[in-house]
């Protein structure tokens, strides 16, 4: 009798220990419930490595759950059209990769085409997720329509070799690289002025302060500066945040940089590729963003690179220290006939270890469950800079919510890019551009109504 009791207590204690350690073990818990189902997944590519690795990750998913996933690789330029056409024809795939600016119009204009996910998300999932932005970025009108699964923290890039060679004091560099310290737009102006010079004594300036792709239509460049001030673009009700004090500050910054000749030649018409490459080629001291893919690619190609690093955001004149953290996400079609299986895939792409490891190695980016130790284990030291800064900034609440909040946001992109371009080409003053932008944004919002 006593022996049996002892055995019972022993077993109970072991069970308790097991129960306590379990939650820390597997991030994604597979289920066999949907074995034999086939679902379709429309994805966007992140390079040939990503594509073949994705196949492996999905093969593992199949092993774990018995669900077969048919992947379609869309292209970044045209893929959205394919998704929209498929929805229009009633052929929508079960799971789709998306971004906030692409998801929102579909949700707003379609008649219940995307499945709301709030009923699927449980407490366990919430606790797994380290980056809350991943869940919040796809909440529209209080309902969650997608889960962020591929995190892209953006920061300005600084070429430290250029700065040091130009005589910028080490204290400035420390300020940029230490989250406890602060650096301002005035500091920034000082560094850029120092860097703008003639390096080979031929009488012509061949090194500048900042590279900026003025000739592109994608969302990021202006927003990097705008969000630093804490400005908003447009909210769910259609109230325009553009055209106010924050816009004026950014336009004045560009105007000042332009007047002082701190911007690289031809900036008004540059592509983002030219801009990114110029900081790695030491033509400029700063770039509007730090592109890890370019860095990794050039490094692996054996190039001798200067010391180019991402930096913590400066403190803008408004006192805000905002930054831009993009989360690409996955969503589910409301007409799907395999919602359970689709949800399993969405979870897998968000919280599983396999996907997390794949993303870290193939692209140097984050998933919602990438922790500090993961970064140390999975990513080469030279490539960790951006992610570490991302984690740090995120924990300090420096990342603002990734807009858009309104279907007109995609359309407004052209507006603010044109406004900056006008300032950079000298066609408009900062004040004119600010007022023009306000009108443009309002027109854009009205056009989409």
């Amino acid at each position: 009798m006593i022996k049996k009791q002892k055995l019972f207590i022993l077993i109970s204690m072991m069970a308790m220990v097991l129960l306590l350690t379990l939650p820390g073990m597997a991030a994604y818990e597979p289920t066999q419930e949907y074995e034999g189902t086939t679902i379709s997944y429309y994805s966007f590519p992140h390079g040939p490595d990503y594509n073949s690795n994705l196949e492996d990750v999905l093969a593992k998913f199949n092993e774990l759950t018995g669900i077969e996933v048919e992947v379609t690789m869309l292209s970044w330029g045209e893929g959205n059209r394919s998704i929209l056409s498929a929805i229009a024809a009633g052929d929508a795939p079960d799971v789709m990769y998306t971004t906030p600016s692409r998801a929102l119009p579909i949700i707003t204009f379609g008649n219940d085409v995307i499945e709301p996910l709030d009923d699927y998300i449980d407490e366990e999932l919430r606790e797994e997720v380290i980056f809350n932005e991943a869940l919040e970025n796809y909440k529209f009108g209080g309902t969650t329509y997608a889960l962020g699964h591929y995190g892209d923290p953006h920061q300005f890039a600084a070429n430290l070799d250029v700065l040091r060679d130009s005589g910028v004091e080490e204290s400035y560099i420390e300020k940029m690289l230490d989250p406890e310290k602060e650096w301002t737009w005035d500091d920034w102006m000082y560094m850029m002025e120092k860097a703008t010079k003639d390096t080979n004594d031929d009488g012509k300036i061949d090194q500048w302060g900042l590279a900026y792709p003025g000739g592109v239509n994608n969302a990021s460049p202006f927003l990097h500066f705008y969000w630093n001030t804490g400005g908003k673009v447009i909210d769910t009700e259609g109230n325009i945040g553009l055209g106010g004090e924050e816009t004026m500050l950014v336009m004045e910054l560009f105007e000042e940089m332009m007047d002082k000749g701190l911007l690289v030649d031809g900036v008004a018409n540059m592509t983002s590729s030219e801009s990114d490459n110029s900081v790695f080629e030491s033509k400029v001291a700063f770039n509007y963003t730090f592109p890890p893919e370019v860095y990794i690619a050039r490094d692996e190609a054996g190039e001798e690179l200067p010391e180019v690093v991402p930096v913590y955001p400066p403190v803008s004149p408004t006192g805000e220290r905002g930054s831009f953290f993009a989360w690409n996400g996955v969503m589910m079609s409301a007409r799907s006939e395999n919602k359970g299986a689709a949800w399993e895939l969405i979870k897998y792409l968000t919280v599983s270890d396999e996907y997390k490891e794949m993303i870290a190695k193939a692209t140097g980016k984050l998933t919602p469950v990438t922790s500090e130790s993961d970064i140390e284990n999975l990513i080469k030291e030279e490539y960790r800079g951006l992610l570490n800064i991302g984690l740090e900034a995120s924990s300090r609440g420096w990342y603002l919510r990734h807009e858009p909040a309104h279907p007109a946001s995609g359309r407004i992109v052209r507006g603010y890019n044109s406004a900056v371009q006008n300032v950079l080409s000298g066609n408009m003053t900062a004040e004119e551009a600010t007022n023009w932008l306000k009108e443009e944004a309002e027109t854009a919002r009205d056009e989409v109504e």
Binding site: N80, G215, D265, A268, S278
Partner: protein, 287 residues
């Protein structure tokens, strides 16, 4: 009645029907559907709502629409004459060469084998870019760099790319047309003492009229449909200065989610091209 018609024209119908059916089913019917959408408000993923001519009214009141129309015409003015004259000149030259013509022929159509969107980026990055070939050379010579994509130069730069893309191919078409001119007529004219210039005006040109109409229409509709190079090089900028009508249409459909409005703009684009075609076929009326 119908039986008679069918039997009288049975060969003609047989020769024409496959072509007409395919074009009708796969192009004309979707076009009719698409154009009928111009009378609706349609967000692509919702159900279309009939609104009559509202789209057209809004269209004609939009200054950006007129800007796009003007840009399209501007491209036409730059590209159409230069390609027509240029390719005819090149074809005449090739035709006169005693040897080596095949070599040039083999090379001249090559631009068309490259997808325009890729070629456009190579033009942009490699030649027109801030650090591209042209500006690098100018900088080395101590001159100022040219902003190829500034408000004033964007359209000419894009036009140059389209000229490059189509010139060789159009020359080949003209060359084929020149081959079809009976040598006997040319020889007779020589015997009569005609010089090169007279031969061109009185024999070559009239015989070339049908081919000229083809090349004219080909280059017209290529020009009016300019899209890929603009998309790849300037995105319609700066400030819409290089935005042609098809690009405007595309944006309204896929970016603003107003497919009906986009269809209305396409209807206008279509009417523009057809008008030019009718004008050209009138001028180049066959004898």
């Amino acid at each position: 009645m119908i039986k008679n018609f069918l039997s009288e024209y049975k060969y003609e119908l047989l020769m024409v029907l496959p072509a007409v059916l395919i074009i009708f089913i796969f192009k004309l019917i979707p076009v009719i559907v698409s154009f009928s959408m111009s009378l609706t408000k349609w967000r692509i993923i919702d159900t279309p709502e009939f609104i009559g001519f509202d789209n057209f009214v809004q269209l004609f009141q939009d200054p950006n629409f007129w800007n796009a129309v003007w840009n399209t015409l501007f491209y036409g003015i730059l590209i159409i004459p230069s390609v027509l004259i240029g390719s005819l000149a090149v074809a005449l030259i090739l035709n006169s060469l005693k040897k080596g013509a095949s070599f040039y022929k083999a090379a001249y159509y090559l631009p068309m084998t490259l997808p325009l969107s890729i070629a456009a980026v190579i033009w942009r990055g490699g030649f027109f870019g801030t650090f591209g070939f042209v500006n690098n050379t100018l900088t080395k010579l101590g001159l100022n760099s040219i902003q190829f994509f500034s408000v004033n130069l964007a359209k000419p730069s894009i036009s140059l790319v389209y000229l490059w893309w189509t010139l060789g191919f159009c020359s080949l078409i003209y060359l084929a047309g020149l081959r079809g001119i009976p040598k006997t007529r040319l020889e007779a004219a020589e015997i009569d003492g005609a010089n090169t210039f007279q031969k061109i005006i009185y024999i070559i040109w009239p015989s070339l009229k049908p081919i000229t109409l083809f090349v004219a229409l080909y280059i017209t509709q290529t020009t009016f449909r300019i899209f890929s190079a603009v998309f790849a090089m300037t995105g319609g900028g700066p400030s819409r200065s290089s935005e042609p009508l098809l690009y405007y249409t595309y944006n309204w459909g896929w970016q603003n989610f107003r497919m009906g409005y986009s269809a209305a703009a396409s209807v206008v684009l279509f009417l523009m091209v057809i008008s030019v075609y009718l004008f050209q076929s009138y001028i180049l009326k066959e004898d």
